[in-house]
């Protein structure tokens, strides 16, 4: 039963990429990233409890280029997930669902996350 003239339901790739899709995907990605980060946090606590030698070995891994890149990544993941999480809480109260509002809040949390990450490392370094 072929009827090829009929219109297809438009799929994701048809649309111009909306910023809200970026924030939606990032929320999940940063969440998973921090679940992995939980392993490192536990490792940090446990290695500190075990002793100086074990602890210093772990810090030397984190003190590499890859380690530092991961730490910067985790800090951004934290601040983004936090900012966007508050955005979700606002949505849960039934507010901010208009397209213009959702687009504006998407840019807001993205920029806020970058600013907070920069602020964090500015205080740290």
């Amino acid at each position: 039963m072929s009827n090829n003239g009929r219109p297809l339901s438009p799929h994701i790739s048809i649309y111009r990429w909306p910023i809200t899709m970026t924030t939606s995907i990032l929320h999940r990605a940063t969440g998973i990233a921090m679940s992995v980060g939980f392993i490192v946090l536990t490792g940090w606590l446990l290695d500190a409890a075990i002793g100086a030698e074990t602890y210093n070995a772990m810090i030397s891994y984190l003190d590499t280029m890859l380690g530092k890149a991961l730490l910067v990544g985790w800090s951004f993941a934290f601040f983004f997930h936090l900012s966007n999480g508050v955005r979700h809480l606002v949505w849960d109260s039934g507010r901010g669902f208009e397209k213009a509002q959702a687009n504006a809040s998407a840019w807001f949390v993205l920029i806020l996350a970058v600013v907070l990450t920069a602020l964090f490392w500015w205080v740290r370094v």
Partner: protein, 126 residues
């Protein structure tokens, strides 16, 4: 007229038999992590250094120890709920999905207990 039983209506658990437990737990633990997470981020940013003595001094301080236990408990719970949703969304096949969910729970439980053990050990100076 509703076709649902009076008991079903009162319990309000729906077809998944869980009600809004998962949804609500995710939100409330998120709110707690907003506070605990910002405290931890601020602590990490302002810690004098990351030597072994610095770490022990930070983790071993009584208030920090309490807040750290609260942090890892809430984090493990929130992370467990989040990873559960991701597995339910992307892992197909009933058996594989079930095994993934159980592994995630076990991993989160292990990390949580290990983290609490470490915090208490340092706090007691043992």
């Amino acid at each position: 007229m509703s076709l649902r039983t009076p008991l079903g209506q009162v319990l309000g658990l729906g077809s998944a038999k869980e009600g809004t437990g998962h949804f609500f737990g995710q939100r409330v633990s998120g709110m707690a992590l907003l506070i605990l997470g910002l405290w931890f981020a601020w602590s990490l940013a302002t810690l004098p250094g990351f030597g072994h003595a610095d770490a022990l001094a930070f983790i071993g301080a009584p208030l920090n120890g309490v807040l750290l236990v609260l942090l890892v408990v809430t984090l493990a719970y929130h992370s467990s709920l989040g990873v559960q949703v991701v597995i339910e969304d992307y892992v197909h096949g009933h058996g594989f999905k079930l095994v993934s969910l159980i592994i995630s729970r076990f991993a989160h439980s292990f990390l949580l207990v290990a983290a609490i053990y470490a915090i208490i050990k340092i706090g007691l100076g043992a």
